[in-house]
Amino acid sequence: MTTTIVLQQAINGVVLGSLYVLVALGLTLIYGVLVQINFAHADFVTLGAFAAYFFMHLVGGGYILSIAVAFVVGAALGWLINAAIFTPLRHKGNELLPLIATIGVSVMMQNVMLAWFGPIPYAFETQYSNEVIRFAGIFVSWQSVIIIIVSILTIALLYAFMKFTFLGKALRAVAQDRETAGLMGINPNYLIMLTFVIASALAGMGGAMLAPVLVLTPFAGTSVIVKAFAIVIIGGFGNVEGTILAGLIVGLIESYTTQYLDPGLIDIVVFALLLVMLAIKPTGLISERREENV
C-alpha cells in the first residue's frame, strides 16, 4: 500500500508539475528576451481556459481541438496587446512603463472577463475528466494522460524551435544582446512580438489544459500564477530547462506534502524552497550565464 501511495503521489505530482511548467514557460520566455515580468500572464491562462470552454460548449468542438483554439486565441491576444500597449510604451524608452502596464492589462482583463462570463464557477468537463485508468491500485484520469502528453510535446517542440530554427536562434541572440542582434540584421521588435505571441499562446494552451483541473472563474489563472512565478525563480529567470525541472519539483513537493505533512503547509514548503534558492543559488537550479538564457 505504501509503495502504491508513493507511486500514485509521484504521478499526481508530475501531472500537476506539467501544468505549472506550461504556465511558467511563457513567463520565463518573456523574461529571457525582454527582462520583463508579465503580470498579465495569469489572465492569458484564464482567457485560454474560457476560449476552450466556449469552443466546446457553444461551437460543439472536441476537447483536443479546443486546446488548439486556446493556443490560437492566446497567440492572437498576445500579438494584439503587445502591438497596442507594450510596444508603444517600450518605444518611450522607460523599461518601467511596460512592466506597470502588465498590471493594468491584468486588472482590465480580469474585469472584462468578470463582466462577460460572470463570477459563478464554470464546470469544465471533458470526455476525459471522469474516465479513469486503474491498474495495481494506481489511478490516472485520461485528462492527466493528455496533460502529460501535451506538455512533453510542447516542451520538445519549444526546445527544437529554440535550438534548430533560424527564428529560435534569432530569439536567443536578442536575449543575449538586443542591440548587437539588431546590428546583425535581426529585427528585435519583430522578435519581441514573436516572444509575446509564443508566451501568450503557451499560456492560452496551459489554460485549456488547466481548465478541467482548476476552478474556472475569471480569476482562475491568478490561483496558479504565484506558483508559476516561484517556479521561474527556482528554475532561474529566463532559463527554460530550469523552469521545467522546477515545475516538476514543485508539483512533487505539493503531492508529498499533502500525503505526509499537511496540504495547508504546501505554500510554506514551496516558498521556503524559493527563499533557500535565492539565498544559496540565486541563478536558479540549472546554472547558466545570463547572456545565454533562452
Binding site: 501544468l19 482548476l214 503531492s255 504546501i266
Partner: protein, 381 residues
C-alpha cells in the same frame, strides 16, 4: 369669508399632499456587503438577485410609507476588503441597516465596524460560531450556525447513516475549521472515529493528492466537506476518481453543511452521487412564502432559486417586517430585529436568542444527490 375658507381648505389639501409625498419619499437605506470578486463572487451575484426581487415586491407599495434602497459594496469574502467596504458604506451611504457578508472571516472583521457605527448587521450566510458568541448587540444571524448544523449533521451521520468513520476536508478559514471541529466533537461523542483532518488553502486547485491520501486511509464511511463551490466541485471529482466515494464506485459518502448552492450536483456530474448536505432553502417546501418566492423568482429570472437567492431575499423581507413593526432608523431596526418572534421566511422561521442567533431548526434542510444528478429532499428535520 368664503374666499378665506376656500384658501384654508386649499392650503390644508396642499399640506396633506406634501405630507403624503414626503411619506412616500421616506426610505430605508440598506447597505449590502456581498462578495462580487474573487472565488466567493458567485455568492454576491446570487445574493443580488434575491435582494432585487425583494426590492421589486416591496417598493410597489412601500411599507409604512417607506421605500427601500440598497447600495452594494464588494466585500470580496475577505476581511480587509470587507472592512474597507463597510467603512465606505457607513461613511458615504449612511445605511439604516447592513446585510451580508457571506464568508465568516469577512463578517467577523466587519462586526466591530458596524458596532462602533451603531448600525445593525443582518447576516444570513456566515456559519462561524464566533459571529454570535458571546454575542454582539448589533449583529444578527438568521442562518443556523456551525454548532447547530454540526451537531445535527453528526447525529444524522451516526444514527441515520450508521457511519463509524469519517475524514474531514475543510478550507483553512474560521468557518471551515469551526465546522469541522464541531462535527468531530459530536461524531466522536456518538462513538464515531475521525481518521484524518485535512485542511487546505483556497489556492489549492488540484485535489488528486488529497483524494489519494483519503484513499489510503482504509474504510471511510462519511467525508464531511467544508469549502466554497469551486473547490467543492474539484474535491468531489477527485474523490470519485480515486474510487473513494459512491460516485467513483467506492463506499464513502460526502456530507456537508450549508456551503454549496443548488446546481452543484449537475456541475459535479456523477461524482456527486449520494452527496448529502444541508441546504438553507428547500424548493419542495410547501409553505406559501416559499412557493410564492420560488414562482416569483422563476418569473423574474427564468431560473430556479438557490439558497443564496433565498437567504438574501429573506434578509430584505425581514427588514421590511421590522419596518412594518415601526422600525425607521438604525436603532429602532436593531430593536425590532431583536424583538422578532415567529417570523416565517423562505428559508425557515426566525426568532433570535440573547446572542442574536436565530434559534429555529426548521432552517436546516437536507438533500441527497440522486443517480440522475437531480436531488431529493430528505426531510430529516
Amino acid at each position: 369669508m368664503k374666499a378665506l375658507r376656500t384658501l384654508f381648505v386649499s392650503a390644508a389639501a396642499v399640506g396633506l399632499l406634501v405630507t403624503a409625498a414626503q411619506a412616500q419619499d421616506k426610505t430605508i437605506k440598506i447597505g449590502a456587503l456581498f462578495p462580487m470578486s474573487g472565488p466567493g463572487s458567485y455568492f454576491g451575484a446570487q445574493d443580488k438577485q434575491g435582494v432585487e426581487l425583494a426590492l421589486e415586491q416591496l417598493n410597489k407599495a412601500g411599507v409604512n410609507g417607506y421605500k427601500f434602497v440598497v447600495q452594494y459594496e464588494d466585500s470580496s469574502c475577505s476581511p480587509l476588503p470587507a472592512t474597507q467596504a463597510a467603512k465606505r458604506l457607513i461613511e458615504q451611504f449612511k445605511p439604516d441597516v447592513i446585510i451580508g457578508e457571506e464568508c465568516s472571516d469577512a463578517t467577523l472583521a466587519v462586526m466591530p465596524v458596524v458596532e462602533q457605527a451603531k448600525v445593525p448587521l443582518l447576516n444570513a450566510g456566515s456559519s462561524s460560531i464566533k459571529v454570535t458568541e458571546p454575542g454582539n448587540p448589533w449583529t444578527f444571524r438568521i442562518m443556523p450556525n456551525e454548532v447547530m448544523q454540526g451537531i445535527n449533521l453528526a447525529e444524522n451521520a451516526s444514527k441515520r447513516m450508521k457511519a463509524e468513520t469519517a475524514v474531514l476536508l475543510f478550507e483553512n478559514t474560521n468557518a471551515g475549521i469551526g465546522n469541522a471541529q464541531v462535527f468531530k466533537e459530536n461524531f466522536t461523542k456518538a462513538g464515531g472515529k475521525v481518521l484524518a483532518e485535512i485542511g487546505f488553502g483556497r489556492d489549492v486547485n488540484d485535489f488528486t493528492a488529497i483524494a489519494t491520501r483519503v484513499a489510503g486511509l482504509g474504510k471511510v464511511d462519511v467525508i464531511p466537506t467544508y469549502t466554497l463551490e469551486g473547490q467543492g466541485l474539484k474535491i468531489t471529482q477527485a474523490l470519485a476518481q480515486a474510487g473513494v466515494t459512491k460516485g467513483g464506485g467506492g463506499n464513502a459518502i460526502q456530507i456537508g453543511t450549508i456551503w454549496l448552492p443548488f446546481g452543484f450536483e449537475a456541475k459535479a456530474g456523477k461524482a456527486a452521487l449520494g452527496y448529502i448536505r444541508i441546504v438553507q432553502f428547500d424548493p419542495t417546501d410547501t409553505r406559501d412564502v416559499a412557493k410564492n418566492f420560488a414562482s416569483a423568482f422563476k418569473a423574474k429570472y427564468n431560473a430556479d432559486p438557490t439558497h443564496l437567492n433565498a437567504h438574501a431575499y429573506d434578509q430584505v423581507m425581514l427588514i421590511a417586517d421590522v419596518v412594518k413593526r415601526g422600525g425607521k432608523d438604525a436603532q429602532s431596526i436593531r430593536d425590532g430585529l431583536a424583538a422578532t418572534k415567529g417570523y416565517s421566511g423562505v428559508t425557515g422561521s426566525v426568532e433570535f436568542d440573547k446572542t442574536n442567533q436565530n434559534t429555529k431548526m426548521d432552517t436546516i434542510h437536507y438533500m441527497e444527490t440522486k443517480p440522475d444528478m437531480s436531488w431529493t429532499s430528505l426531510k430529516w428535520n
